[in-house]
């Protein structure tokens, strides 16, 4: 498929790399020659310097035979315009990056459809939601949702006091609960471990548990130490992510404090939210300011500054001062991989990576069989959903009869909107959706198992 990406920022860069490795034809449009040249050095793509919200420039990028346009530049109005121009040129699938949902107004009937936008991605909002999910409990590190509303996959840290710690997975005491959920992956010392029945969970492991929402909740609750609930949150930076998160937390009844260097920005946040939150005016990397904001006694500290490096330092400082849980936001996708190496930071999210996941899901560029659900933040692995086709190799077979590639875990099976735990005795039926955690290299080995047997893959 031919895809035009407008904007070669962090998000555009990452999308171009993921999509071009998936054998799509990519054209990247950006104003900066330098960014484009850097991108071109290691990717087999075409680049067009210019304004993506300009018809001449889009024509130069070959809009006429393009299938999808993804506008992810830093300027939301330019993105909207680029998508509208694309729609005008009869492109059926567009993705538009916006700063916040406030762009639309329900009372004026102004929504995505009215503006001729097909898909919307709001990285700040998505990232805020991701962070919001992990602020429910101290031990939760990441939460991933699936195409099936009832299913969830949650990563949590196994503490020395947790009942699952020290036991082999098949020997874990609470068998009733364990039968309903699946251990999808374990992250130990930054390495991805594929869990088996004999795997012993040691303290410090990050365990990914998948299953129905209620059951996963109970597993978390069962493993949480006392007073692990969170009520006081301090956020550094009234950035897009910071503002979005503040609104969410405030609505959910958390006690929120914000540290913002820029007085005007802080005041604007208060004007926007019209709510009883405290904004401290000061530099979040300043110790005195942190103390004034009460970081030493806060339940969770989120650093959402614009500068990635400041965020990391700020989070480490907060943890040292006594914040019980620290979460950091980074822009660069590369940083998402190194944050787990910093023991003091409990959770890190990259707004680009989160947004890439959303965009990939929206455009559904994968074949009929596969759709990518998420690229795991902390492990070099992806979650893929495979549809079981009629006549495929796995159809009507028991799971334990099927040979899967190494380091692939079958987590869940969705059947008629029901979530089933993928145990060995389960037999695949046509139309089932199987969720797997695997490295992206393994997809090619997995795909033929689920695909229809055709001439090409005999």
């Amino acid at each position: 498929m031919k895809i035009i990406i407008v904007g070669a920022g962090e998000l555009g860069k990452y999308l171009a790399s993921v999509l071009s490795h998936d054998k799509h034809d990519i054209v990247v449009v950006d104003r900066s020659d330098e960014l484009l040249n850097r991108l071109k050095e290691h990717l087999d793509i075409m680049t067009v310097p210019g304004n993506g919200a300009n018809i001449e420039c889009l024509k130069k990028a070959g809009i006429k035979d393009t299938d999808i346009l993804i506008a992810v530049s830093g300027d939301e109005s330019a993105n909207v315009l680029a998508c509208q121009l694309a729609s005008h040129m009869n492109i059926q699938n567009t993705v538009c990056r916006l700063d916040s949902v406030n762009f639309f107004s329900e009372e004026d009937n102004l929504n995505a459809k009215a503006l001729n936008l097909h898909n919307i991605v709001i990285p700040a909002e998505e990232c805020a939601r991701k962070i919001f999910h992990v602020l429910s409990n101290k031990i939760v590190m990441e939460k991933i949702l699936f195409s099936n509303q009832n299913a969830v996959m949650t990563a949590f840290e196994a503490l020395p006091s947790s009942p699952i710690t020290g036991a082999r997975i098949k020997d874990i005491s609470n068998t009733e609960l364990m039968d309903t959920v699946r251990f999808a992956a374990i992250l130990r010392d930054r390495k991805h471990i594929t869990p088996h029945g004999d795997t012993i969970i040691v303290p410090g492991d990050k365990v990914y548990v998948a299953g129905r929402k209620s059951e996963v909740e109970s597993v978390i609750k069962w493993n949480s130490p006392e007073n692990s609930s969170i009520s006081k949150v301090t956020i550094a930076g009234a950035t897009r992510v910071g503002r979005n998160l503040t609104a969410k937390l405030y609505e959910a009844g958390y006690e929120v404090r914000i540290i913002e260097k820029d007085f005007a920005k802080g005041a604007r946040l208060l004007d926007e939210l019209k709510a009883g939150i405290m904004v401290i005016n000061g530099d979040a990397t300043d110790r005195e300011v942190m103390i004034e904001a009460g970081v030493d006694s806060t339940d969770a500290f989120v650093s959402a500054l614009d500068d990635d490096e400041d965020n990391i330092l700020c989070a480490i400082m907060a943890k040292e001062m006594g914040a019980r849980k620290v979460v950091t936001v980074t822009n660069k996708a590369e940083y998402a991989n190194i944050i787990p190496a910093i023991n003091m930071i409990d959770s890190g999210f990259s707004s680009s990576l989160v947004a890439v996941n959303t965009v990939l899901r929206q455009i559904q560029v994968k074949t009929e069989t596969v759709s990518i659900e998420a690229i795991l933040n902390r492990i070099n692995a992806c979650i893929f959903e495979f549809k079981v086709n009629k006549g495929s190799i796995v159809c009507n077979k028991r799971i334990d009869e099927i040979k899967f590639p190494l380091s692939t875990t079958l987590a869940l099976v969705f059947r008629d909107n029901k979530v089933i735990s993928a145990t060995g005795a389960l037999r695949f039926e046509e139309g089932d959706i199987a969720t797997t955690v695997t490295s992206s290299d393994n997809v090619k080995a997995l795909e033929p198992l689920f695909a229809k047997k055709g001439l090409l893959n005999l």
């Binding site: 490795h21 034809d25 071109k40 050095e41 075409m46 070959g62």
Partner: protein, 508 residues
Amino acid sequence: MNIRAVAHVISALVIIIGFFILSCVPVSWLMKDSMNVIVMLAINAIIPIVAGTISFYMTKARRGERYKFGVREGFGIVTFGWIAAAAFGCLPFIFISNFQWHDAFFETMSGFTTTGSSVIDNNLILMGGKMLTNGLDDIPRGLIYWRSLTHWLGGMGIVVLSLAILPFLKIGGQQLYNAEVPGFSSDQLTPRIANSAKILWGVYVLLTAAEAFLLWFGGMSLFDSLCTSYGTLATGGFSTLQSSIGGYDSVYFDSIITIFMFLAGCNFVLHFRALRGKPLFYFKDEEFVFYLLLTIIATVTITISLLGTSIETTDGRIVEGTVFNSIRYAAFQVASIFTTTGFCTANFDLWPTFSTFLLVCLMFIGGCGGSTGGGMKNSRVLLLLKYSTSQVKRCLFPHSISNIRLNKERMGAQTLHKVLSFFFLFIMLFVIFSLLTATLCNTDIVTAATASVACLGNIGPGLSKVGATCTYSWMTPSAKMLLTLAMLLGRLELYTVLVLILPSFWRK
């Protein structure tokens, strides 16, 4: 540089070379070469295929490993790929016609780099001290076909060809493409390099077929018309006759070849656009207009200078300098030298000094970017011209922002610097190669200088002892090796080869 990864790709390239040598076997059979020659040709085809296959499997990525092709690997693949191609491509010359290895390597490198400098003449000393008394007529047809085919393969680029037909190599990025395709502006046709390469090769095949048909239609034998077309479209210069195109003495052939040489010197992207129904694009391209103007000016002035003189053709006849004859020989020779093809119909060495000198000047400029021609390329010269003008202007307006545009796009300082240094490197290498050639062969300045520019610019014939009716066979082996290096440098546009000299290229 990951040597295994580079060797892996080059192995694939060697296999392809083997198959192309194999394709000469049926030609050899049809042209009634002796059975001995046909069998030897087949054996020489099998050697690269087998050697390539073995090393392809030996250098396969180990389990769990995945080759990453970075900038270093890109340059390594292209430069060593060309050397490997010439090394395996020269085998038939050694085994079939008993060439000495340095002559065979010179001839093959000259073929792949589309230079067209030949060592084949009546005085070439073969292995064992014998002489090739009848020149090209002593060479089996199958081998002559291979010689012309090397031109054709090298013209559009052998590495780009393998990218187009071997998608499993999965080399991302554009280093390979940029390292091999001439010119500095990448006028990309499609998002994927492999597809762009396929399109350009398609245009190339189409133009070759068109010329071969027109020549065959005009009465040339099918074998000669194919070989000549390969030499023309690649801007090579190997002919099937010892006296080059002049040996046919046909106005029709001369004009067809003149036109196709001119076309081969244009940017192939423009041909593609024209074939898609946009012929006016030619005149929107500044480089093309510059190239066309220079061709016209050179043709007209040389025609005028030839009027009334007697012109000696390459097969030794003397014709009068009538208006018609002057235009015919001037146009052919300008197109041939300017596009760096190197076919000859007249011995331009004997022309008035103005004409000879102008032709030597044209050698430096060469074809357009994105063509199969060599030299410095018209776009670079045009840009240098604009840059120099702007520097003069700068004396009056010292604070103006530089506004040097090519095809309406403003050129950044980075591009300008690269073009400027290219110019310097080209001239510097020309001087160094001239000096070394003169020393190694103990010859005169004109011979050494023109031999050096003819090889560096991938033209072929020079002046004096390497002139239109002479060859390079008399040179010492060391000078021949030096000039093969010049050809490679010129074909890969200096940087790709020069980067290998840097110690930091080899160190991690």
